[in-house]
Structures are given as C-alpha cells and as structure tokens.
Symmetry: C2
Subunit: 251 residues, 2 copies
DNA sequence: AGAGCTTTGTGTCAATTTTACACTATGCCA
DNA sequence: TGGCATAGTGTAAAATTGACACAAAGCTCT
C-alpha cells in the first residue's frame, strides 16, 4: 500500500506476506471484505482478492496482520487469529497478477509464502480508509464467493473451516455482532458459521444454560413485529466458565 | 543438512524454514523427536531443538516438511499437518544460535519465519538416517521438556494443542500405534494427548461404539498378566462413519 | 379500531449419552 | 499353588439432545 510511509530502518521482506480474511455479519449471513482489483490488463483471472501485503522485517506476523487490517479498515484491537501458511512455488502465474503485485511493491518473480489470518469485525464499525484499496473494498456474502485471485479461495475455505472449529470451542461469535443483540441474531450467526440449521428452541436453551449473556431490560424498537429482548455478552461470566476447564459448546 | 545434495536449479530461500514436531508414543507416554545440538561454543541456551531446515524455492511447504522428516527419519508418507507460522523478527539472538544456523546453511542475520508441522510416527518404524543430525536425535517425553532452542518451545506447545483438538475430531491417534494394539494402549494414548484421565470402561465403550476397530482373534503374548486382545484400525469403517457427517468423537 | 403479518418466546417428552463405580478372569512368575 | 498385574465387563442415575406447535407482541394497512 503505497500511501503508507515506509518505516525508518525497516525493509519489506520480499518472500513473506500476510492475507486477511475479514469476516463480518450483516445479521443475515456471513460476509467477507474483499478488494476488487478492477479491470485487469491482459488477465482473465478473478478480480476479487483478500486484502494483504508483504511484511516488514521489523514486525512480527501478528503485527503485520494487524497493520493490514488497520490500513484497510481503521480498526485496531480486533479479534485476529492465524489460519496458517500457504505457498506453492507456482502460486503466481498470471501476467495480470504480476502487474497487481508491482502495485503493492512486491516483486512479481519472487517466490512468496503468505500467512493467512482471519478476523472478526462488526460491520457497523467498519469505516473504509482513504487507501488506494479501500475505495474498492466491499462486503461480499461468503456463500456467493466462487473464486478469488491467487490462492485466496483456498485460503478462504481454510479460514471458514477454522472459524467453524473455533466457534465450537470459544464464543468468539460475539465479535461479529453489535454490543446489543438478540438471540435470533446470535442464532442466525451460528447457523451461518456452522453452515447448518439449528433448532430455535434447542439453540436458545443451550445458550442460556451457558450463562454468559446478560439480559438487558431493553427491547428492539421500530421492528414490524414483536420486539426482541436485547442481550450483551458477559466477559466475566465467560471467564468463570473457562476456569472450570470448559472448552466445548457442543455444536 | 549438508549431506543432502542441492537440487539442480533450486535455491534455499533464506527467509522461510520448516520445523517438525515429530510425535511418537512409547506405549506409556507421548514423546517428541528432538535434536541435541551439542555443546555450544559461547552460548548458554537450550541444546535441544526441533528438526527443521530452510525451504527450497521450488518446493511447497508440505514438501519441505516431508523432506525434513525423511532426511531425519527415513520415513515417507506419514501423517503430517501444519501447525502454523511463527516468526518474531528477533527470534534469533544468541551467538550460539548463529553458529548453529551456519551449519544448516542459514544466514544468521536474516529474518526467518518458520512454518511448523507436527507429524505422527510409530516409534518402531523410526530408523535414524546417516545424517549429521540423526546421530544426535532422540525421543524425549513431552512432559519432560521444559525449554527448547529458539522459539521451539512455543511451537511445541502449539503443536500439542493442535494435536489435542484434532484428535477430538479425527481418529489420527492410530498413526502413533503399531498396526496391532490393545485397547489399553489406545486408552493410554488418548490420556497422554488429552492430558487428562479417562475412565477405562467409558473409554472402551465409546471407542467400541464407533465401530472403527477390527478385533483380531489374537492375543498379546509374553506379558506377565492377562493378555489383551489385539485390534486393528479399520480404515473402511472409518470412511463409512465420516460419510454420515460425523466429526466429533466426544472427548 | 380491527385484521393480518411477522417474528418472539416458551415446555415437554422420549431417546440418547454421560458419569461414576467394583469385581472377576487370565496368564505369568516365584 | 499363591500372588501379582492387567484385562474385561454392566448398571443405574443424571444430564443432554432432538423433535415438535402455539400464543404473544408490535407494526402496518385499511
């Protein structure tokens, strides 16, 4: 991202990049923040790609991922987790990709391995930054994504799977919801991530039994139907729960 | 590993290495194959390290991990799974580490990120290769490992955790056992990996209900107690099981 | 004001799974 | 033959899961 000033005394490492799968939830379905690389000169490859960049030699991988995220979204201190490293020697092959890579200061001929992360953000908090990328960034429902540039589709699949496994073990889903949310929204979220229907009553029962939600004395307003009670995630109660060795939400 | 001939047309990538956490099971506890780097000139750091090496520019990460594994153990086609990428810019700091790195052709000053894998091998299959490393390689019980060179201890922890999670979802433990094994051995294995006691009768019931073992009409011999029946893992039955969408062993 | 629409919120019962727990059987060894 | 060590087995109570249907609340439209 050429608008970012190069840090003094640091160099881009030509061999290692990070890519971020930034998940959001529009209260209906799971979405991912993708970048439209625009019309590509000679290429016919997919236009959409995950945000990412080369790392600097003086930052660690987590820092690099946080940086990429912040440059694009302006968000800091958000949930971020490594998915893994990807990198076939021939992962870059299209002429169009080379052009693109030059634009982010990568050397098109270099063999690059990329470390993928996924992050969970509240879509409402997202404010596109004035970077060259953010202009072309957009939330796309995961289920509508059929292909991506480079090996990004493969990375997306791995990120979805990791998220799926992780949410069975930790209640990280709250990072995707507003502070105040309804049980129905939480229900939809779990269905989206686990990619299967969950019985409404059984879901509610299970969640309530965990006792990690605070019920607010507050209702939805302005909805054209019976308004729902609002809830908040209760970090303290969750900490108590984990201290008992609990690590299985049973989904 | 300087005894390995450099592949024609390939170069070592100075920025990316792989490290392998090679798990074994001595029928009592979980062990890891570590390399003793020997007396270190000026250093006081830990002598033991995970096997690993830089990657070649013409191999992918999985291939590199398989290569490291084969160079050390002579084993091929064994269970291997990525743990993740590690790499603080300052992960190498000791003078002694620099000497060591030179010996594996790494550039001591370069910033290296490493991609960690874990693999599961039958200890009985392990035959040390005639490499400079294998002479000093040895199986160490995981619970006795208190420190390792570089950031390898952190990697080991991550590998243990990954193995723990994975075995709750897939019956990969069989890779650590001989073809024929007893239920008690399997029981001990699960206890070692999950790091908690499991009730004997409940464990046996659960495993048997899965119906992925073939009972052999054969008993242990030469043991100074009642001999146990021997079992084999039944790959076909496991495939049937997974085709029902099964992905939770309930541990 | 009332009818209709949409989503919320709730309980029970049967089936399954989990947990806790102790004694007999078998083969080796001394 | 007695002692030792581990294998192998069953049950009952408690907890969890899965399937399932209808009344309540607020909005909208007429």
């Amino acid at each position: 991202m050429h608008h970012i000033q190069k840090k003094i005394g640091s160099e881009l490492n030509p061999n290692v990049s990070v890519d971020c799968v930034i998940f959001g939830f529009d209260l209906e379905q799971l979405t991912v923040l993708l970048i439209d690389r625009g019309e590509i000169p000679s290429g016919s490859g997919p236009r959409m790609a995950l945000p990412g960049n080369l790392i600097y030699d003086n930052e660690n991988l987590d820092q690099a991922a946080n940086r990429v995220l912040a440059e694009l979204t302006g968000l800091e201190n958000i949930y971020l987790e490594q998915v893994g490293a990807f990198g076939d020697p021939d992962r870059i092959h299209k002429e169009s990709d080379r052009e693109w890579l030059k634009s982010i200061r990568a050397e098109p001929e270099a063999r690059v391995i990329t470390v993928a992360y996924f992050s969970l953000v509240q879509m409402a908090h997202y404010k596109p930054q004035a970077s060259s990328f953010a202009k072309n960034a957009d939330w796309i429902p995961v289920n509508e994504i059929k292909e991506l540039a480079f090996d990004h589709f493969e990375i997306l699949q791995a990120a979805k799977e990791k998220l799926k496994q992780k949410i069975k073990i930790q209640p990280i889903g709250f990072n995707l919801l507003p502070e105040k949310f309804t049980l129905s929204q939480l229900h939809r979220l779990y269905e989206s991530i686990l990619d299967k229907p969950l019985d409404k009553r059984n879901f509610r029962r299970k969640i309530q039994k965990l006792d990690i939600l605070s019920s607010l004395r507050e209702k939805q307003k302005g909805v054209p139907h019976k308004p729902s009670l609002l809830y908040e995630f209760n970090e303290e109660k969750y900490q108590e729960l984990t201290q008992t060795g609990f690590d299985n939400f049973g989904f």
